[in-house]
Symmetry: C2
């Protein structure tokens, strides 16, 4: 059961944008970026079922956004920050910098 991970050269911009265009996945990516460590599926504040969580992380992984590593029954997730930056410079930073909501006066 080898988890598919694309190589950085195979990253596809539309695919990455699509992966990031879902609010739940965007939230997962934000949490992964804040916690500079590996996080298991169950360590996220998303309110979806386990199977949906599995699905979202597969989309993120197959797009190249995250790396997944098995450890016991857990699956640890990491942002592929360096590779994303190399392939799409500035993209991840711009996405993460975007405030969740504009703050009015």
């Amino acid at each position: 059961m080898g988890l598919y991970h694309p190589t950085a050269e195979d990253f596809d911009l539309p695919t990455v944008l699509h992966a990031l265009s879902d609010p739940q996945r965007l939230q997962m990516v934000r949490e992964l970026a804040e916690a500079e460590e590996e996080l298991p599926c169950s360590g996220f504040a998303v309110s979806v079922s386990k199977s949906t969580c599995t699905h979202h992380f597969r989309v993120l992984r197959e797009a190249g956004v995250v790396q997944q590593r098995q450890l016991g029954t857990s699956k640890l997730n990491t942002l592929r920050r360096a590779e994303l930056d190399a392939r799409f410079p500035g993209l991840l930073d711009a996405v993460l910098a975007a405030g969740p909501a504009p703050v009015p006066a």
Copy 2:
């Protein structure tokens, strides 16, 4: 028949990412960015039907990516570059800078 255009503060990141995640729309945005002028729907190299073109530009417009202005029977499209940059700094640049395909040796 007022064309809906969101204000910059109402731009929604997932919505914008989704608008840009379609290859055809991404291509349209690229062409719009290269030609620093207003372009009608018929001035694009996309190979889709007229109704599909209308649909794609509506998605882009409602996400805040483009501005549309009626002129005769034509509808002129412009990138809302400044507003996008203000709301999501660096995002559009990163998307446009991403080469369409990686060039192998």
